[in-house]
Amino acid sequence: MLSSQPVTQPLKPTTRTSTVGRTTNPVRYWLGRLLIYTALLFFALLFIVPFVWLVSNSLKTAEQAFDANWIPRPIMWSNYVRIFQEVPLLLMARNSVIVAVLGVLAVVLSSSMIAYGLARLRFPGAGLVFAAVLGTMMMPGAVTMIPGYLIWKKLNLVNTLYPLWLGNLFGSSFYIFMLRQFLLTLPQEIIDAGRVDGASYYRIYWQLMLPLIRPALLSVTIFEFQAKWNDFMGPLIYIQNPDLRTLPLGLQIFVQHLGYGQFRWELLFAASVLVTLPMVLLFAVAQKQFIEGIATTGIKG
């Protein structure tokens, strides 16, 4: 509808234009530039300022936490010490790291195996398996949530960290799909050469395929780390033991107690800064993988 007709047809020639499309009128050009940069700056501030403001509010006293000042007086650096006494942040961070690291290792190994099988090996029923992968991608999590919980309960693993990551050993359909696309682009000659040299399919996977898809594996690593670091619903369902709380669950519980209960919001702001920091650092070192991973697959963490 929008574009069936050729784009070049119904438009009448208007202004004088140079060959690559910049209007020759310099005033109009610079005015346009100014407008664009003003808009960019406005939106960039819109996205960044709340962070600055969060940090500022995390450095106030409890009484001043909701005042209008941008620069706290006094600056309570001690909030960042105090939060560790009020909230077992290190314990929560340890749990979060365990879940995130094991989850990443499990999902990278399993998803790459499954993707290799689907992309490069011929076996009866492969099409059906791939259809099942696609079907799982569309499945809303809410439908399988309750029976999933009952399975972990039956295994006596509720209130342990296992339900939060062990399922990753079965692969994740989004990652399988993404890695399969990546593996399909590799030339068949690599595999054939490996076969001629007597390598088994297992060795080809481990020694030829895995190194070649390293950039995609890195994207999976980052997405899954982010997903596990942020996961809130999983711990909320499976963790009752306070010693096993991950950062998101622990933080939510302290919103109830410390925030709504004791009006110590400034400490929660400090905790929120600390929880966000690792992700900011990860993004700083792996910006390329974040952006490219999202741009090529549309997956987000």
Partner: protein, 309 residues
């Protein structure tokens, strides 16, 4: 490889096929145990009364009938649809606008893109805490900003009618991932299309409607579906901002933040009404399928494909 197969018995697999099964076996196992099995199980539970401690009792359509009389169910359905209908149509043009700004041959693309993306990497729980402060009626950042242009902002987190628009704004703040997707799609649009259009005298507005939009319409369509599904499943932020423990068992003032999955969670894990919660899950599943089907249908006329249809 294929030659091998015929020489052996039909039921013997060659080495490649055996390896293939080995490699996909984790998925098959997970699919049966954690997807297909649970799907059937939750369908069965939806016709039962089940509190986990005692075995499920068959109740026919009771759960589905109860939904029709359940005021919190109508509330949650209303809230989720309200949120989705307000969020998706605002998020898409907003993200597209930002992507177009990046596309306008500006310097420092990666800096701007990072700025737009930053909220997206903030853990949802931390974002919830931050936004409680931003939306606060007491010197909140939003109302301070509104005051600059002479608007007296409402008490976003206290006034039930403003809670959902407030959450929409919060989620609009983290559209960075859509901007990244759109920006990547814009880069793929062949430059010569624009050049040809410019030669023919098309202005920027015409180029946008006749080239840019059609060429990325499939990506826009994809994000509409993703966003719709995300919106119907919103959970973490409202749970952090309006803990039911604080609001007397309700989700926010007058249940104004009681979104679908929150209600489902509440029924399943706080009231242990697993049967009713399973029925809720299946209704959400069907609603999602209906909405996505409608979107796919509608898009056939709007999404540009190479075949020229």
């Amino acid at each position: 490889m294929a030659g091998n197969r015929t020489t052996k018995s039909r039921f013997r697999l060659d080495e490649e096929a055996r390896a293939g099964f080995f490699f996909v076996s984790p998925f098959l196992l997970g699919f049966i145990v954690f997807t297909a099995g649970p799907l059937l199980a939750s369908f069965y539970f939806s016709f039962t009364r089940y509190d986990v401690l005692n075995p499920p009792v068959w109740r026919g359509l009771e759960n589905y009938r109860n939904m029709l009389q359940d005021e919190r169910f109508s509330k949650t359905l209303y809230n989720s649809l309200y949120f989705t209908l307000l969020y998706v149509p605002t998020a898409i043009p907003f993200a597209l606008g930002l992507a177009l700004l990046l596309q306008a041959r500006v310097r420092g693309v990666s800096f701007w893109r990072t700025a737009f993306y930053l909220p997206e990497i903030t853990p949802a729980v931390a974002a919830g805490v931050l936004w409680l402060r931003i939306l606060s009626a007491q010197n909140g950042l939003l109302n301070e900003a509104l005051a600059v242009i002479g608007i007296n902002g409402p008490a976003w987190t206290i006034d039930a009618q403003w809670v959902k628009p407030a959450i929409v704004m919060m989620k609009l703040w983290s559209v960075g991932w859509i901007v990244v997707i759109y920006f990547a799609a814009l880069q793929q649009v062949p430059k010569d299309l624009y050049e040809a259009a410019i030669v023919d005298g098309a202005n920027a507005w015409q180029r946008f409607w006749r080239i840019t939009l059609p060429m990325i319409s499939n990506v826009i369509f994809f994000t509409v579906i993703m966003l719709t599904i995300f919106s119907l499943n919103i959970f973490t932020e409202p749970m952090v901002m309006f803990p039911p423990q604080v609001f007397g068992g309700q989700m926010g003032p007058q249940d104004s933040a009681l979104f679908y999955v929150l209600y489902l969670f509440d029924q399943a894990f706080r009231n242990f009404r697993m049967g009713y919660a399973s029925a809720l899950a299946w209704v959400l599943f069907v609603i999602t399928l209906i909405i996505v089907t409608l979107q796919v249908r509608g898009s056939r006329r709007l999404v540009y494909t190479d075949s020229g249809q």
